[in-house]
Structures are given as structure tokens and as C-alpha cells.
Symmetry: C2
């Protein structure tokens, strides 16, 4: 039976601004031995699956500095902290990145752990129904974004071809597909 590992120590060891690395010392309940683990702490992630009235999915294409290539993804970003409700943050990111918005409340599809071995944060996944284009996108200086509208069938073919390969986007689409939402 899996049991929690008691946490013996936790210290910040590197600060990148957008994330901090902590070195945690935890004790195995199976062996009694203590081991060190490095964990990244950062703001929660927000991801939104925006559906237009005609059933198209609003996606974004942007250059990503980890993969050093373009990525076709669902809109999203970082949660702005305790003063922002996550659903408001998801609607904010949708508007900033795409200019699309909806008058309906966003529906939560799931709250995930992006990588529970390495990352302490969570990812809030929302469905936005009946979105329409309202305003020009307002990307920040670190972003360069193209808006791409895709039918559900095109999404499947672009996943199969490998063009859609962002795991968080796949996770959100998987949640929505398993829930029968698109």
C-alpha cells in the first residue's frame, strides 16, 4: 500500500522568477531512508477549450522557447494569483491571446497535476462555449500568436500527424472527448 513520504526539509535553491526550485528531503515509508527531490513551484496553469457557435475550436500557434519551435495549442497561461478566480484568469488569457470571449460561464473540465513528480502546481482546464471574436488580441511582449480555428475532425488529423503535440493541450482535449463535450 502506497503511503505518504514524511517531508523532513524543504529549501528554495534556485529562483528563475517565473518558477522557483525547491530541494525537498523526504523519508521513504518503505525503506526508512531519506532522499532528496527537486520540485518546481510556480503559478497554476490555465487552459481553455473555446468552442464557437458553429463548433469550431479556437487555437493558437506560437513560438515556444522550451521546444524552440512553433506549437499549435489551446489558449492559456499562468494564473495571476489569489486575487484572480481561475475561471476569470482562463477567460482573460482567452481574450488576450485570441480576442475571443463568451457571455456564458466557463465550465470546469478538470483540475490536473501537470507533472506531479516534478511540479507542485496544478492546471485548471475550462470549456468556453459559444465564443465569438470581440476584440483584437493583446499578446504580451514575450508572445507572438496566430489564431487558428479548427473543426473537430481537423483536430483529430492534426493530432495524428503530430502537429498538435503539446501534452497539456492533449490532456485538455482528452478530458473534453472523454466527457463527450466535442
Amino acid at each position: 500500500m502506497t503511503r505518504p513520504w514524511p517531508l523532513l526539509q524543504s529549501h528554495p535553491v534556485f529562483d528563475a522568477g517565473v518558477f522557483r526550485v525547491f530541494r525537498d528531503r523526504a523519508q521513504s515509508p518503505r525503506t526508512g531512508q531519506a532522499r532528496d527531490f527537486h520540485v518546481l513551484h510556480m503559478a497554476d496553469w490555465l487552459s481553455v477549450l473555446p468552442l464557437t457557435t458553429s463548433g469550431q475550436v479556437v487555437m493558437v500557434r506560437q513560438y515556444r522557447h522550451g521546444s524552440r519551435r512553433d506549437s499549435l495549442e489551446l489558449p492559456g497561461g499562468l494564473h495571476d494569483g489569489i486575487d484572480e478566480q481561475p475561471d476569470r484568469g482562463a477567460a482573460r488569457e482567452l481574450a488576450e491571446e485570441t480576442g475571443y470571449a463568451t457571455d456564458e460561464p466557463l465550465q470546469i473540465l478538470g483540475v490536473l497535476h501537470p507533472q506531479p513528480a516534478l511540479l507542485a502546481n496544478r492546471a485548471w482546464i475550462y470549456l468556453a462555449r459559444n465564443v465569438s471574436h470581440r476584440t483584437p488580441p493583446r499578446p504580451d511582449a514575450g508572445e507572438d500568436i496566430d489564431v487558428v480555428l479548427l473543426d473537430a475532425a481537423e483536430i483529430g488529423s492534426r493530432i495524428a500527424s503530430g502537429e498538435i503535440d503539446n501534452a497539456m493541450t492533449l490532456a485538455a482535449l482528452g478530458l473534453a472527448r472523454i466527457g463527450g463535450h466535442f
Copy 2:
């Protein structure tokens, strides 16, 4: 139109052993301004969806030090490097974590970017058909693993309840579901 950002500099700034943090300086093709980005470099991740002959999915439950809680996930781990083919690594992780194996070649479902903004690495997602229990699991000293067999219907209900919330596992299940594999 999104264009690549020319990379001006890249320096390692923190070494955690399992990952290294690089500070990359890149130039926006839109504004001409240079900006710094922190990127994690680590081994590729391997994830495997193991299906028994009766159609059950072999999953693992383990304590995770990022989320500091139990996580119900697909088996997987880190790619051992250039001397190991990724499919061999996935089969190795499956055997180590669960004791299950198959005589058939593993089928690649996709090669994802776990988080293309933050992580440079990729995740190799495999389907293992007709797995059966062969050997005792061999978890390493940093692992404490329970093996859990689930029917496809149970997977859906445990995703809906939030018990399955690892984004990489959701991405792999989404790939498999969209591909019609389970």
C-alpha cells in the same frame, strides 16, 4: 505569422542532477527586443498504456513529491539516453514498475512536448497490447508503487472524479481514445 526567435545566448544556471536549468536569451522577430527565458533540460519521458488480453489497463499508484500526494498514472519514467531505444525504455519501465510485459512490439501513439514553454524534452507515448504479469515489480529506492488494473469504463469514471489527474496520463489516454485504441 509566427516566426522563430533567434537564440542569442544559452547558459546553464542550475543543476539539479535530474534536470538542468538554462537561461536562454532570444530575440523577438516582432519587436526586435531580446528577452530571457528559463528552460529545463532533462531526459525524455516515456509513458506506456498497457492493455491486457481482456482489455484492462495496467496502471500504477505512487506517491509523488511535486504534488505531495498519491497519483494514479500510466507506467513510465525517464529515457535512459542514447544507448536505449525509447520503445525498449518504455518496456523496461513497464516491467520495473508493474512486472507486466508483452511479446509484441510496442506501438508508438505519439511523441509529445510535455510543456514546450518550459521544458526542452519530449514524451514518447506507447501502446503495449496483450501484456501479462511475468515478474515481480522492481521499483527503485525512490519509488513505492501499487499496481492497479482498470476497465476502460472505470478509467472514465476515475477521470471524471478527479482521481486520475496526471496531465501526461490524460494526454496519453486522450491520444489512445482519439486513435480508437481503447
